[in-house]
């Protein structure tokens, strides 16, 4: 669809490698995420535990694989939902006439008036540990960005002679969207989606870090960070793992977003 730059391929490669690590870990690890071995706590990486064990003797490799998988699932779901909703509402707002636009404007301004993280925290506090609520809350915050960009770009396209001409020739709305609007908005939507993916991961990790996100004993990157935090001097390699992966995922998504934005 689009020609990608070298840096974007690097970003995609990092994400793919992390995905392979996650799926492989979940499929082939002989341990489960909650299987404790108190005889072997905070072990450094070895042949039995490739990434060592945490303070309960749980396999870090297994837990990291699950945590990365969870982050991916959430970020992709949020990305998909918010871009779809944001794009659809953005186009509808321009196309649906003044009333729709005004109504959408009110909703969006209310959402924008609240800091994004606060909204998510609010939802997360109502139902702690629910993946579904986290997903809904993050998507609710993120679609606004897509809406605003898509609406601004679409306004120009709707007025353009090219679309007017297609309409006069009898082409339907789906065609006009496909040929005129989508080519104009798709680069922006893809860029926003890449940033949105990174933001979703960060938001989920932040919530985990303040204990309102995914609850123990599930493995989640933010939660693991805060759990392993007390042992930073005894076993720094353990704390480094979730932090490194968060940084890597965000970095890869930003690389994927490309330079123009």
């Amino acid at each position: 669809m689009m020609s990608m730059k070298k840096s974007q391929w690097v970003g995609l490669a990092i994400l793919f490698a992390l995905l392979v690590f996650s799926l492989g870990g979940m499929a082939f690890s002989p341990y489960s995420i909650s299987q404790q071995d108190l005889n072997a706590v905070m072990e450094p990486p070895s042949a039995t535990h490739w990434l060592g064990t945490d303070h309960f003797g749980r396999s870090m490799f297994t837990r990291m694989a699950h945590a990365v998988g969870l982050s991916f699932a959430l970020s992709l779901l949020c990305m998909f939902t918010s871009s779809l909703v944001g794009t659809a509402f953005g186009v509808w707002s321009v196309w649906g006439g003044k009333k729709v636009d005004v109504a959408m404007g009110i909703v969006v301004n209310i959402l924008l008036a609240l800091p994004g993280l606060v909204v998510v925290l609010l939802f997360a506090a109502i139902a702690p540990g629910s993946f579904l609520v986290l997903y809904l809350a993050i998507s609710l915050v993120q679609w606004v960005e897509y809406y605003r960009v898509v609406r601004a770009v679409t306004q120009g396209v709707i007025q353009s002679p090219a679309r007017q001409s297609s309409q006069m020739m009898g082409f339907g709305r789906w065609y006009q969207f496909k040929r005129h609007i989508w080519p104009a908005i798709s680069p922006s939507v893809f860029t926003l989606a890449a940033f949105g993916g990174a933001n979703a991961i960060l938001t989920m990790a932040s919530l985990g870090f303040v204990y309102v996100g995914i609850q123990p004993p599930l493995a989640e990157l933010g939660l693991m960070t805060v759990e392993l935090f007390p042992f930073y001097s005894e076993a720094p390699w353990l704390l480094a793992q979730p932090l490194l992966v968060i940084a890597l995922m965000v970095f890869a998504f930003h690389l994927l977003a490309g330079k123009r934005a």
Partner: protein, 462 residues
């Protein structure tokens, strides 16, 4: 008469390709020199070479002699503003959009000529009064009409007192009446020094007089006194250029207008307001089937709005528009746009756009090749997208697309104003000919009364 500017074998190259073949000319005081040719004929390159404004990557050979001496690029650039000036092609690109008009002229007097602020302002106001902008000095460029903005730009550019004036397409995009005003202004400026004008408009060349050079594809084809060349052109290309002027067209109004043609559109007491301004008041007219109707008027008088209203794209303030042909479907009322590239999606090839249309309306594909042949469209055009074909080809492609739908009414909104005269003539003729063949009524908008006169059965003057 002293020679202010002399070129000896000046040529422009990119790498080893010659863009402008060696040319020699002399510009004398008080004698205007005009270069005539189509877009892409290398006219602008010559002006840029003289000024020393050529883009990187282009090299110039030969000698450019200014005021009697051969100068280097840096020496010529030092003359900018005071001795040598190039007038802007489109004023919008050269004026400061946020600065009052009078200040733009004042700054030249103040900083280029070194006058005191009060004196500079007085001189600027006097200059503006001379070009008929006395009451408009406080306006920003976007509040001025095209002709006024061009006069302002010329005043600002020449305020530095330059003797050598290079004007690159100074009348591009202006109405006929405004164009003549700019030409007269240029002539008064030229009396003090010398003037080199670059244009594709034969009429401008005729009015300026003096010496004339005709160029084609970077090559000089004819040179001599303007009056004699334009009246007795020797070269085939010059003849073609002159023949492409609407005033020189033979009457191409389609003869076969059936007297018993039915009414297509009846407009009664039409009133249209836009932005609080009444564009036209109580306009009534009838358009018959297969008739070519022209609308003339200066820019901003509502020509395009009238067409849009007939197509239902704009709502009218009062009056009525009755479309008598009840069998015609909505997609048989179509529009041709002024700027061809903006009327197509650049995301897919032209062939894909055509296929979309064929699939939507189940058009018989065997109709396409003969129509393409009539419109002189090469088959290869279908593999490219709208940004990589020429404006003329694209406008013909737009006609092709419209004709495939068997339109009953076609609103052509200045379809040739962005095209070269030769291409414009070709496109207009094809449009009128093919539309008449298909018994499709055409509403042709133009700011050139000659063009309308030659092509239309009925003229609506706004």
């Amino acid at each position: 008469m002293s020679v202010l500017l002399k070129l000896t074998n000046v040529a422009v190259y990119v790498d080893d390709t010659c863009l402008l073949e060696p040319i020699s000319l002399a510009l004398k005081q008080g004698e205007p020199l005009t270069i005539l040719g189509q877009t892409g004929s290398g006219k602008s390159l010559l002006a840029q070479a003289i000024m020393g404004l050529l883009p990187d990557g282009l090299t110039v050979s030969g000698e450019i002699e200014t005021f009697g001496k051969v100068m280097t690029l840096e020496e010529r650039q030092a003359l900018w503003g005071r001795e040598m000036v190039m007038l802007p092609q489109e004023p919008w690109h050269s004026l400061d959009p946020l600065m009052k008009g009078v200040d733009q002229v004042k700054e030249v007097y103040r900083f280029v000529r070194g006058n005191s602020p009060e004196k500079a302002l007085a001189m600027a106001e006097e200059d503006l009064a001379q070009v008929g902008l006395a009451g408009n000095g406080h306006k920003r460029p976007d509040e001025l009409s095209g002709g006024m903005a061009q006069r302002l730009a010329i005043t600002a550019a020449t305020a530095g007192g330059a003797h050598v004036i290079l004007a690159d397409e100074p009348t591009k995009g202006l109405d006929v009446s405004r164009r003549d005003g700019i030409v007269r202004l240029l002539q008064t400026r030229a009396k003090m020094g010398c003037l080199l004008t670059i244009t594709h408009d034969v009429e401008v060349a005729r009015q300026l007089g003096g010496l004339l050079l005709v160029m084609k594809e970077g090559r000089l084809v004819e040179k001599g006194e303007a009056a004699s060349i334009l009246d007795f052109p020797q070269d085939a290309y010059t003849q073609e250029l002159i023949a492409a002027e609407p005033s020189a067209w033979s009457d191409i109004t389609a003869p076969i207008r059936q007297a018993n043609a039915k009414d297509l559109i009846v407009a009664n007491e039409l009133v249209l307001e836009r932005g609080g301004r009444v564009l036209f008041d109580r306009l009534s007219f009838t358009i018959k089937q297969g008739e070519v109707v022209g609308i003339v008027g200066d820019s901003g008088c509502g020509k395009s709005s009238l067409g849009d209203a007939l197509l239902g794209l704009l709502s009218i303030s009062s009056g009525s528009i009755v479309r008598s042909d009840s069998t015609a479907k909505p997609f048989q009322w179509l529009k041709l746009y002024q700027d061809p590239p903006s009327a197509f999606s650049s995301s897919v090839s032209l062939g894909q756009l055509l296929d979309d249309l064929v699939a939507l309306h189940r058009i018989d594909e065997s109709r396409i090749p003969p129509l393409m042949a009539k419109l002189k469209l090469p088959a290869g055009i279908l593999e490219r997208n709208c940004l990589s074909v020429s404006g003329g080809e694209l406008q013909r492609f737009a006609i092709l697309r419209a004709l495939l739908l068997d339109p009953v009414f076609l609103f052509a909104d200045e379809p040739t104003s962005r095209l070269d005269p030769i291409t414009a003539k070709e496109v207009t003729q094809l449009l009128v000919e093919l539309a008449t063949e298909a018994n499709c009524a055409v509403l042709l908008v133009s700011h050139d009364p000659d063009l309308i006169q030659r092509t239309c059965h009925q003229v609506i003057a706004l």
